[in-house]
């Protein structure tokens, strides 16, 4: 997602929810484009934030500004009812209407758009049905659908209500692993083919890395960090982003494919990576590089089984655990994290500015 020339429209929010044992006290802003991930451990207030935005909760203080319109401001006693907010919500469970067939569900929101004049966004029903693969399900009853099918109908129903923003609250959480893999590509296609911005809540960093362009990190009911995905992922000061899943996302262009070894060559600002499997030449792919998969050496000598070796500069070294450090590396314009032992760091005499070779044991293409 490249930024538009002028400042893109954004959404600004401030919410205070006080309940027994839980407080949501959050303030933030993100651009109304692409997919914004909301990441945090269970109980960090991700769902509460979404419910506030949709008007389904009763916060004690609230402010919500979408582009130039103030939708909610408790100080000025302004509050739009949920049906007057052009926000669609995809819940963890599909919440389809059992007395309507699939078509009836899809058209439920669509039929109410004009009545409320809540949005002037045109929706192309045929295109959305096509995109989500719903064509063959239209006359089916909802209780005969599989979990993945039902969630696709729920997403289609949300899209057809002409929203200016779609909130997705862990839409894959109620699905088993196989169904997840089946649904993720559909969400990617929405991102590629539609312009409606999406907020995607997840406690799975892998899903976030695969889908999102911006990232809001939450913990204990507050926002820890907001920004574009790639730079927020570099924040080594946030414990919730640490652990085994710490790592970077890099955008790379597919330049060629080696059929003999089934490897694609991917070019990015720091050089060339080779990744298994074939991707369309010329396309831009998203590559996930975990901190645990990078090792560091000080020269490029010797034979090795590692394919991907990149010249890098050490930017910072952060304590990770009593035995390990997270090294922030820069290759070209891109950043990566490497987790190595403290002993190795000392042995290699790593310091900011040091020039090293980063060896990537594995890279995974997260989105083609």
């Amino acid at each position: 997602m490249s930024a538009a020339a002028s400042t893109p429209p954004s959404i600004e929010f401030r919410y205070l929810v006080e309940q027994a044992g839980f407080t949501l006290d959050i303030e933030g802003r993100f651009a109304l484009q692409g997919i914004t991930g909301v990441f945090g451990p269970s109980g960090s207030g991700k769902t509460s934030l979404l419910r506030c935005m949709a008007g389904l909760a009763s916060p004690s203080a609230a402010y919500l500004k979408v582009d130039r319109d103030i939708w909610e401001d408790s100080a000025a006693r302004v509050r739009r009812a949920p049906h007057h907010r052009a926000i669609a919500y995809v819940f963890q469970e599909p919440r389809l209407f059992p007395h309507l067939d699939v078509r009836g569900n899809l058209e439920y929101g669509k039929r109410r758009v004009e009545k409320n004049a809540r949005s002037s966004i045109a929706t192309d029903q045929e295109h959305i049905i096509d995109l989500l693969g719903l064509g063959s399900l239209l006359s089916r009853r909802t209780n005969g659908l599989s979990g993945g099918e039902a969630q696709r109908v729920a997403i289609g129903r949300a899209l057809l209500s002409a929203p200016r923003l779609i909130l997705m609250d862990e839409p894959l959480a109620s699905l088993d692993a196989g169904r997840k893999d089946e649904l993720l590509p559909f969400i990617e296609r929405l991102h590629a083919e539609l312009t409606v911005p999406l907020v995607y809540v997840s406690h799975n960093i892998d899903e976030i890395c695969q889908l999102c362009d911006q990232l809001l990190v939450m913990q204990g009911g507050t926002a820890l960090a907001t920004g574009d995905l790639q730079s927020v992922l570099m924040r080594t000061d946030l414990p919730v982003l640490g652990g085994a899943e710490a790592g970077a996302v890099i955008m790379a262009r597919v330049v060629s494919y080696d059929a003999e070894y089934d490897l694609s060559r991917l070019e990015f600002s720091g050089g060339v990576l080779q990744a298994p499997a074939r991707y369309a030449i010329g396309s831009v792919v998203r590559v996930r590089v975990r901190a645990n998969d990078i090792s560091i050496c000080d020269e490029s000598s010797g034979q090795t089984s590692i394919l991907n070796r990149l010249a890098a500069e050490v930017i910072a070294i952060n304590q990770d655990s009593s035995s390990s450090v997270l090294v922030h590396l820069k290759t070209g314009e891109d950043s990566m994290l490497a987790r190595i032992t403290r002993r190795s760091a000392a042995h290699l005499n790593l310091h900011p500015g040091a020039l090293v070779i980063a060896q990537l044991k594995s890279v995974s293409v997260r989105r083609s």
């Binding site: 949920p82 049906h83 819940f91 389809l96 059992p98 439920y108 009853r141 729920a154 209500s161």
Partner: protein, 230 residues
């Protein structure tokens, strides 16, 4: 005596029709009252809820004569509602069909509220919230999502209100007395026949009521079964 025999020969359809009429009118009014009340009870967590619930359930435990007595006091020409009614219409509420309708609504209230309340509680807020985010106002969401999803609850509420009103005796006797064509409903007529030792007529009317009640309840449970096996 001759009069009683001739009435029972043509099955004495007056009280039966009157009972049906009373039950139908009561059911329609009760659904209109009980639906919002049950929705509120199903969704409220306020301090008022237990008080309201206890009040609604009173007719189940109170002897009909107690209920009837208070209704008589309230609806009588010197009671709060009764005096107002006299001023408004010029006639008294007690010993009239209108008075019976009011008394029946109170008497059968829990039978309309409770099935609706449990249907709404079972339904939860999930689909309603989905409807709201898709652009439905709260009334729209209720009509387009809650009502169709709670059809079995509405059916049960209607059948139980109807059947319960059909079978009421004590309250009617206290409030309505025994005026043919006005307040002489089927249960009163049966009591009359027994008092007059006319067991034949009592049998015929009782059998009609028994069969009708069974058929209505059976149909309700059959519909429920079909609904849940869809």
């Amino acid at each position: 005596m001759i009069d009683a025999i001739s009435q029972s020969l043509d099955l004495n359809s007056g009280p039966l029709l009157l009972s049906m009429q009373l039950a139908a009118v009561t059911t329609v009014i009760l659904l209109a009252i009980a639906t919002p009340l049950a929705w509120w009870l199903a969704n409220s967590r306020g301090a008022m809820k237990p008080f309201m619930q206890a009040f609604v359930a009173l007719p189940i435990v109170l002897p009909p004569t107690v209920l009837g007595f208070y209704m008589l006091v309230l609806l009588g020409p010197h009671g709060t509602i009764g005096a107002w009614w006299v001023e408004l219409t010029g006639s008294t509420l007690t010993f009239s069909f209108a008075g019976l309708v009011i008394a029946s609504c109170v008497y059968s209230l829990p039978f309309a509220v409770q099935p609706l309340q449990s249907a709404f509680e079972l339904l939860g807020r999930r689909e309603v919230e989905a409807a709201r985010t898709l652009g439905a106002s709260s009334v729209d969401a209720f009509m387009s999502v809650v009502v169709p999803m709670a059809v079995p609850g509405f059916l049960t509420a209607s059948v139980l209100s109807f059947a319960h009103t059909l079978g009421e005796f004590g309250v009617v006797l206290m409030v309505g007395g025994n005026i043919p064509g006005e307040t002489r409903v089927i249960s009163i007529a049966i009591f009359d026949h027994v008092e007059a030792l006319d067991y034949g007529a009592a049998h015929r009317l009782s059998a009609v009521l028994l069969v009708a009640a069974f058929v209505v309840l059976l149909m309700m449970y059959l519909v429920h079964r079909r609904w849940h096996h869809r």
